[in-house]
């Protein structure tokens, strides 16, 4: 184990896979000479050369489609979006090409591609640079999605995504890149579809993914001071979804809060709540409560932005709600 940043863990995963497989290459804006807009690909140009670490023009639709085309022949592109906000320009190639190619071709053409970059809000970047894009991706059958929250998960999930034969979106976070943590040395793979219990507790379950894992842990710390023990289940992978792990935590605490960074309308949490009511209705002692971003474009003003984002306090109050306790 070595302590490293989330950023360096992603870099380690890409290098691990590029060392073992010549068909893996990295393409995106500023990934080569600039070392990555967020320095995730630092040093990779020097190590792998400009045929495998490739600066693209600012043409998200074009280079995403080019990477999908390359993947149609069996190459394994890592297509970096500077942020997933910009990938909205590329969604035609993600959804109409990458997600559907295997099905339309009756299994002839797998598309083993990774789309990666940060999703969600950072600080005061306002409406067009602050949105969680998970729903756009998981809505389409054919796409997989993972959302690492820690450096170890970043390494293991990105490596698994690169080896996977399907299109996998790996959604990171600007505010996660500097997070430090222990990361296993050597080859490290976390299978897609395995949730991780980040904290155990018997009173209430906070189910979440990505950057919000840290908000959930903070909320769990606040609740512990009041004698309430919250469990924090990090899904890590939205599609495939570790349904068993969700059902286990529901059965243990009977009270669930779903926390996500995205909007509520047709959000990831809406799907999880639907699944829980389908499969574990009788285990619930209270309706599931969702904590999400406010259903508005992200405002710029610092006070409004804070109001719009999910906070530890809003999670604490949601947990109190499912425990039928008054708001703190």
């Amino acid at each position: 184990m070595a302590e490293m940043t989330y950023r360096d863990a992603l870099n380690a995963a890409m290098c691990q896979e590029m060392d073992r497989d010549d068909s893996v290459f990295l393409m995106g804006e500023e990934v080569a000479e600039y070392d990555g807009a967020y320095k995730v690909s630092r040093g990779m140009l020097e190590r792998y050369g400009d045929q495998r670490v490739v600066d693209s023009p600012i043409s998200e639709l074009g280079f995403a489609g080019l990477c999908v085309g390359a993947a149609m022949t069996g190459l394994r592109p890592i297509c970096e979006f500077m942020t997933f906000n910009f990938s909205i320009l590329a969604l035609d190639q993600v959804i109409n090409s990458a997600a559907k190619m295997l099905y339309m071709s009756n299994g002839q053409i797998p598309v083993p591609i990774v789309f990666r970059g940060p999703t969600g809000a950072a600080l005061q970047l306002s409406a067009q640079h602050s949105q969680a894009c998970e729903t756009y991706y998981v809505h389409a059958p054919g796409v997989k999605l993972v959302t690492p929250a820690t450096p170890a998960d970043a390494k293991g999930l990105l490596a698994a995504a690169i080896r996977d034969d399907d299109p996998v979106a790996v959604m990171e976070g600007e505010l996660l890149y500097n997070v430090r943590g222990e990361v296993p040395d050597g080859e490290y793979i976390i299978p897609l579809g395995v949730a991780d219990l980040k904290r155990s507790g018997d009173d209430v379950s906070i189910v979440t993914h990505g950057k919000m894992v840290h908000v959930a842990l903070q909320a769990a710390g606040l609740l512990a001071r009041e004698g309430i023990e919250a469990e924090v289940l990090d899904l890590r992978s939205i599609r495939p979804l570790d349904v068993d792990a969700i059902l286990e935590t529901v059965a243990r605490t009977n009270r669930v809060v779903y926390l996500e960074e995205g909007w509520p309308f047709a959000g990831v949490g809406a799907q999880i709540v639907s699944m829980i009511q389908d499969e574990a209705f009788d285990d619930l002692d209270a309706p599931v409560v969702r904590v999400t971003q406010a259903d508005i474009p992200m405002p710029y003003a610092k006070n409004l932005e804070q109001l719009a984002k999910p906070s530890a306090k809003s999670v604490v109050n949601a947990c109190r709600q499912v425990l039928y306790l008054p708001a703190a």
């Binding site: 085309g69 390359a70 109409n96 059958p141 579809g193 599609r239 495939p240 349904v243 799907q271």
Partner: protein
């Protein structure tokens, strides 16, 4: 587009052609053996009869959905694809039945796909717009205008990445050049000198909108902005097209970088089966003038006959062969099984592990209930 019929003779969809006068020059046939000429004629007649058969099957409900016919444009399928190597790649849009057959998909597999049968080249999952066969280098059949252009660039990228000497031919209609994907792809192809030949099948209309109404520049100017060399050819002349592509593919194979071909042609049918042949956007006279004067099949036929390389009997035999292959394809398709309902969820994902669920509708991952979904 409202030229008098007399003017049509020298024009395809209103563009003056700069080609050598084929009639005066029996040598328009130069470089082709008798066998090669017969083969090209047979190819184009097969494409024509195949699509007429599809038209018939559509009319009686054997084929559903959208069905875009290439009739009138067969010179481009034969002329641009037949000179390619087996391991070269072709990717295209949704008017692609004849291109698929030209690249090596059998008429049976193509027709069965139109019928939505398991024996179709896409197992009945793709239909008219999504024919695929990787074993012959036919990479689809794509339904979003311009969507296949970045994919074509990616196929070219992969060839270059692996150090291969294949070329990728990426077809599109004239309307596709107004998509951002076109400019983005040509620009990247030029930066990285990708071995891709982008071919606009310029039939003058994006569905019912004349190109001249949606562009103030001519077609060649579109690729110049990206530094990709442009060429205009007469797509109704299969021999000119064949020679041109034979030469261009060799140049691209040798490292000439991406190319842009503006191939003038004309669609003899409506945009799709649900559209009239002529109407508010083009006149009956214009269509008839092209059918009588710019049919790639009759142009080649007449030249061969004039040169004494084709008799009426031979022509009839070739045509009978094309009809018989098309009838056989339709009979084969009709007799083929529809997809098994248990395969509904097959091939959504290529890799499914034992962890987690990929489907939440309660169907995909239960064997016998529309699953399992493993590719």
């Amino acid at each position: 587009m409202a030229q008098a019929i007399g003017e049509m003779e020298a024009k395809v969809n209103g563009t003056e052609l700069s080609t050598a006068d084929g009639e005066a020059d029996a040598a328009g046939l130069e470089g082709f053996s008798r066998e090669e000429l017969h083969a090209l004629l047979a190819d184009m007649l097969l494409y024509r009869r195949f699509e007429e058969k599809a038209e018939e099957a559509y009319a009686i409900g054997k084929i559903g959905g959208f069905c875009h016919l290439h009739i009138g444009q067969e010179g481009l399928a034969a002329g641009a694809i037949k000179p390619l190597r087996g391991d070269d790649l072709v990717i295209t849009a949704y008017r692609e039945h004849t291109q698929a057959i030209a690249k090596g998909i059998t008429p049976r597999a193509a027709m069965a796909e139109l019928y939505g049968r398991t024996t179709g080249c896409s197992g009945g999952r793709g239909g008219s717009m999504h024919l695929f066969d990787t074993s012959v280098g036919f990479m689809g059949g794509h339904g979003i205008v311009g969507g296949q252009i970045p994919l074509g660039a990616g196929l070219g990228w992969a060839i270059r990445y692996r150090g291969g000497d294949q070329v990728c031919v990426c077809f599109m209609g004239d309307a596709a050049v107004n998509q951002g994907a076109f400019l983005e792809s040509l620009n990247m192809s030029a930066i990285w000198r990708l071995p891709v030949i982008y071919v606009v099948e310029n039939n003058g209309y994006g569905m019912g909108t004349a190109f001249s109404r949606v562009s103030v520049t001519d077609m060649e100017a579109r690729s110049g902005a990206c530094g990709v060399p442009a060429h205009t050819i007469n797509g109704q002349d299969v021999l000119e097209t064949y020679r041109f592509f034979e030469d261009l593919a060799a140049k691209v194979r040798a490292g000439a970088g991406p190319q842009f071909v503006n191939a003038l042609t004309y669609r003899f049918r409506g945009h799709s089966m649900s559209d009239p042949v002529s109407g508010t956007y083009r006149s009956k006279e214009e269509v008839e003038a092209h059918i009588t004067q710019q049919d790639p099949i009759t142009i080649l036929r007449d030249r061969m006959m004039e040169a004494g390389l084709l008799t009426q009997e031979e022509l009839e035999a070739i045509d009978a062969g094309a009809r018989s292959i098309s009838d056989d394809a339709a009979d084969f398709a009709d007799a083929s099984p529809v997809p098994d309902p248990s395969t509904l969820y097959d091939h959504v994902y290529a890799e499914i592990n034992e962890h987690g669920r990929l489907f939440l509708d309660g169907r995909g991952e239960r064997p016998g209930d529309g699953g399992p979904a493993n590719g």
